[in-house]
């Protein structure tokens, strides 16, 4: 059954399983849920449901299976690769009403929450105890725990603290057969196959995770935040590699190029030293006892400043207070938003390269975009080598859309050629299905496919994601693109 064959009776029955008020349908719903933050491909759902519990998710999934209707989980819809796109239509199972924090165990630094809880709220709930949830994607004020788990989200501070996978110890899920299952333990690294590691980052293709137990990380006891201006992007990228090779691992090391600086100037009138072409935002921190922490951070700061100066930094600003720290971060946090001043459409790409290849890679990004006549600005996690070239163009012009897609593909292929990955934190979704072949051989993809079958042998649970060339998906791809235009 495709979305076209979801009938009134099916919608009515969903209303009996939940209640009619939590089953949404109609033209406005189709439009609101036909894509996530990756807007190039679109496919409308037949209905959107808002369960409040794992049991309700199970009941909805069970009914979809019974009727052969595809179902797609969705958090806040901030994903950037189309992971929440209802590729074959059907039912979107949204976690908007599953926002409860179920338990907090401060002494053992664990929290269990429903997966519709917003990332930022998790940290706020334990701030009084000096703890936080470490993954901090830029979307953290709206993105959900479930979305973070599905995409294995990162963020600026993952350079030191790791991605979401490093912070999830157990999950409760509804599997693609409609069975509730739990995996993981309260203590880390228990014997047996690590199935939680497979589920985190599986983009909702192996089931719908409804609750998760996460680690809580102590807040740093000392922090130093530096914003360094350079006259050339290459000086900034070379600085990044040298800081790491000098033995310093900052908590965050973010790079913004002249495209972002222009956007920030236009949008917010931010001022930078004359001749600045790149900014590096570096945060150093320590969780040692406070007297040791200050010394440790000061020692690292001295090394960082030394490296920056040796690469001809124009200016090094150091935050002297929490307010100044927040101000220095503003450039990073408002960068993407500011790009709205440059063009109607922004597509943020995601790829990873060995950080020593950053200078070479950025040269390639600028040259490729220029050749295609597409604007590009870069704001990214330089410490991880995780690029985010932001292409700006006008999506009302199909020719520009095609060129932007082509530029994105060339950039992604170049990441692989340089020994990197096609995605560092946005996931594969539908955006990069075809690019999986660039990174993985047929044998590698067969292994991936076998792993998918551990949990999902059907084609109803978030179909057409992660594994390329799935049966019944290929013919739909043109339709997604057509819907976007």
């Amino acid at each position: 059954m495709s979305s076209a064959t979801v009938d009134r009776q099916f919608i009515h029955d969903l209303g009996l399983i939940l209640d009619p008020g939590r089953v949404l349908e109609g033209a406005s719903i189709e439009r609101a849920y036909d894509c996530d933050a990756y807007t190039i491909d679109k496919s409308p759902p037949s209905a959107v449901v808002l369960p409040v519990s794992t049991e309700e998710v199970r009941d909805v999934v069970g009914y979809c299976i019974e009727k052969g209707v595809p179902f797609t989980p969705r958090g806040a819809g901030t994903g950037l690769s189309g992971g929440a796109l209802p590729a074959l239509g059907g039912v979107v199972i949204a976690s908007k009403r599953m926002t409860q924090i179920l338990s907090i165990d401060i002494p053992n630094r664990r929290m269990t929450a429903q997966t519709g809880a917003v990332n930022k709220r998790l940290s706020e709930a334990v701030a009084h105890a000096g703890l936080h949830f470490a993954p901090d994607p830029s979307s953290q004020t709206v993105s959900t725990l479930g979305g973070n788990i599905a995409e294995n989200s990162g963020g600026p501070h993952t350079l030191k603290y790791g991605v979401t996978a490093n912070h999830v110890v157990a999950v409760k899920m509804v599997d693609p057969r409609g069975v509730i299952r739990t995996f993981g333990t309260l203590t880390t690294n228990a014997p047996g196959y690590d199935l939680v590691s497979i589920l985190v980052g599986s983009e909702g293709t192996l089931g719908i995770i409804t609750e998760a137990t996460i680690k809580l990380t102590p807040n740093p006891t000392a922090v130093a935040t530096l914003l360094i201006a350079f006259a050339e992007v290459r000086q900034a990228t070379e600085t990044v590699a040298e800081i790491i090779s000098r033995g310093v691992i900052p908590a965050a090391m973010e790079l913004m190029d002249h495209g972002i600086l222009d956007a920030l100037r236009l949008a917010f009138d931010f001022q930078y030293p004359q001749g600045s072409k790149a900014l590096l935002l570096i945060e150093l921190d320590s969780t040692l006892a406070s007297f040791e922490a200050k010394d440790a951070v000061a020692m690292e700061q001295a090394i960082v400043e030394d490296v920056c100066q040796s690469h001809h930094a124009l200016e090094i600003r150091v935050a002297a207070s929490e307010a100044e720290r927040a101000h220095l971060w503003t450039a990073r946090k408002k960068g993407i938003g500011a790009m709205g001043r440059l063009a109607p459409t922004i597509v943020t790409h995601d790829g990873v390269i060995p950080r020593s290849k950053l200078p070479e890679m950025l040269d390639f990004v600028y040259a490729t975009a220029a050749e295609a006549g597409i604007g590009v600005a870069n704001l990214f996690h330089a410490g991880d080598g995780n690029l985010h070239p932001c292409l700006y163009f006008d999506d009302r012009d199909p020719a520009q859309v095609e060129r932007a897609i082509r530029v994105g593909e060339l950039i992604t292929h170049r990441c692989v050629e340089l020994g990197g990955s096609i995605s560092g934190e946005h996931g594969i979704g539908v955006e990069k299905l075809d690019l999986m072949h660039a990174m993985f051989s047929p044998n590698d993809l067969l292994l991936q496919s076998n792993v998918r079958q551990i949990f999902n042998t059907g084609s109803l649970c978030n179909p057409c994601k992660v594994i390329p060339n799935q049966k019944s998906c290929v013919e739909h791809r043109k339709r997604w693109r057509g819907a976007a235009w």
Binding site: F183, T187, G192, S245, P354, G385, S423, G424, N443, D444
Partner: protein
Amino acid sequence: MVEGHTRLYRAEFGLEALAQVIKESEVVTTYGFELDGFRRPSSAKHWAQIGLLEQRRNAFLRQPSSPERTDQLNHLEVELSTLRQQTEGHDDARSVTVIDLRDRVGIVDFSAEDQVVTVRAGTRLWDLQQELAQKGQTLPCLTSAHSGLEFAVTYENLMVCHLIDFNLPHGLEGQCGSWRDWLLGAAIFRPDGSIARCGSRVVKNVAGYDIHKMIVGSRGTLTFPIEFVFRTFPAASLPKSEAKQHRTRTATETHALWIQRVQPTDFPNVLREEPDQILESDAATSTIWATVEPGAHRNRYPGDWVLRTGCAEDNVRITDRDQVEAMRQTKARLDPDDKFNPGEFGLEAGTA
């Protein structure tokens, strides 16, 4: 175990030859510098050990008689008898190929500024650490020089593939993570002899499922190792360990090893319970290494886990229903003929 059905293959002839051996074998397991004692007796490792000891015994029998020969034969017979007793009822009639990885060693590539090293599966941790140290990098598990801890010495002598097989706790886990956190990618053989790669060679990657992380701790039951890609760390800025040596194990001590991890709130109670049994502890992960009499137990706590030696099938026991079912499904999908180190987790129907 059918006598004569074990063969030892040295992995020195390149991947193509190795692929053919794996493809043609009924049961495959690794051989080299590894941990003894933690495995269940049902493991193919045990069947293989019996086969190899039988081969040694037969070779002795062909030598001229001498008092030394008699001594060694007697010693071998005792060892064989113990192993046969432990393995009884767990083996099957399939022949076992034991692949010696001691020739598959060394670094494939290493970039200190990218913090990434690719290493062959048979490389010993000690040798890897020496190479990394030349460029100021390390894998952050305690070295004996760094810590003086007994378990650090044990670890250094092991091959990386076996450290990954077991994912045992180490003294910097609370500060720097476990093998699972540093492993970025892997190249492996599948049961049909094909080679597959998973993960990547960069420090951040979300393309595809994190299969390499599932390999960690899988005790060689899902794939056969070729190469691993690790994230390295600056040696100069390693944090301090909270691991502590309580006492040293004596040479004559025959008690079984008991490794237990509990939640932090239970850790003080664990330390108070029979403190003389505790060899080492790590407050950062609430883990103890202790010795107990074979078959004896220390107290268990909610959410804890235990690994042990000398306790047969209790060396590792997975009891959670969802976990066992998913592990069986995993084994069925990745190794449908049960070729790779069968019996290690007791996943056969009705045994776990």
